[in-house]
Symmetry: C2
Subunit: 245 residues, 2 copies
């Protein structure tokens, strides 16, 4: 099953007609290399973009040249579902690794929303994105470096698990420490030290672009991670690896 359907079904199950429709949407895709912009601040994209492989991020550049990343986009995530209302992007979206992207024309999305189950699921992803931003704000405001980084990794692990990209608590994560720094509001050097803290406690292993959770139970507790903000519904939690819930 494709990543989009997998993700949306973590909210509610679809009937076969809806599944076929969703599958048809992700038919045509294109590739983009690492460190490229998919959309830039100020643009008004024609199509809605969907990531089907690789990692991308939402970010803004500041006047002093620093960058803040405030969302990670993983396979199954939409870039710009809000384009129907807001006329301009207020942030940019760039790739972190090589990515596969699907362009969905506006009218195609509108046709999708005529199916009530799909419309609700799209509404749901928007609200979960918002809940995730709130949790990130808590993370930035109230947790120090090692816990903050741990919390972020718990989230990524949970989200990748939903789309089937986690095996034995490990996943490909081709992201530099500098990019993690831009994400967590920390310097790259300090990310390095926070990673060492997590490693020394045997919570994670991370090298050569692959991350392994060594003791999820303790990692979740250490980071104060509660997955409720991701609003994974009981449906999914009961049927798929509840240990990450």
């Amino acid at each position: 099953m494709d990543v989009l359907t997998r993700k949306l079904e973590s909210f509610c199950p679809f009937d076969q007609q809806d599944r076929d429709l969703l599958a048809s949407v992700v038919a045509e895709s294109w590739e983009i290399g690492p460190d490229q912009d998919i959309i830039q601040e100020g643009e008004t994209p024609e199509d809605v973009h969907l990531i089907t492989s690789g990692f991308a991020c939402r970010y803004k550049l500041l006047a002093d040249g620093s960058r803040q990343i405030f969302a990670f986009l993983v396979p199954g995530d939409f870039c710009d579902l809000h384009v129907f209302i807001l006329n301009q992007m207020d942030h940019s979206i760039g790739t972190l690794s090589r990515c596969t992207v699907v362009n969905i024309p506006r009218d195609r999305v509108i046709r999708l929303t005529e199916h009530p189950a799909i419309a609700r699921a799209l509404w749901w992803v928007t609200l979960v994105d918002e809940g995730t931003l709130r949790e990130w704000l808590v993370n930035m405001g109230r947790r120090q470096a090692p816990e903050r980084l741990g919390h972020f990794l718990c989230e990524i692990l949970t989200r990748l698990n939903v789309v089937g990209l986690v095996t034995d608590n490990a996943f490909d994560f081709p992201v530099t420490q500098s990019e993690l720094g831009d994400t967590m509001g920390l310097s790259a050097v300090h990310i390095n030290r926070a990673l060492q803290t997590l490693r020394s406690q045997n919570l994670i292993a991370f090298s050569r672009g692959r991350l392994t959770g060594l003791d999820l139970e303790r990692l979740l507790a250490f980071s104060g991670f509660e997955s409720n903000y991701l609003h994974l519904e009981p449906y999914r939690l009961k049927h798929q690896r509840p240990k990450l819930a």
Copy 2:
């Protein structure tokens, strides 16, 4: 005109029928004192709540007892428009000052959304809330205390101006430094020092619950504030105090 209509019309103008409908919604309201919860994490509210006077905030409490505030709710703001999709609140909403609140039953909101202009406007407020969270994340991650606080004050000034609560760059702001600390991810003591920095540069005056912007031009520049994330449409900007845009 009521604050809700004022706010929604900063996105697009309505016809008289829509205005009457909106005005009828805010007919009945109730009062709640300061430091009270309007909704708590885990609840499933029956009605949608709208603030029509006073200040409230979205927040989460952490295990160590600390609090992170990640949204300020000002008159015209909805508390829980997302309740139709997400079954549980993933955060709480509490008052900062005495507030006036309107309860709008679910089916009333559904009837509102049958009017296309209003439905689009409600969609818009949701997306602006999300854009605001993104900007807050940038603020937390990349700006230090005085600029961070200044940026936040610029935003509040802009948003209160939209609903007509700013006169001569001044507005009532009955918020403690401790609450500002919980908002900015800083200690109350450090908020005090950041305020002194802003005051010493003659950017603001703030005492007895009233805040005055002394030199908006310089305050915006100092804080790196760009209002684009609030997505105020040209309609409003041309007709109301463009200096804050």
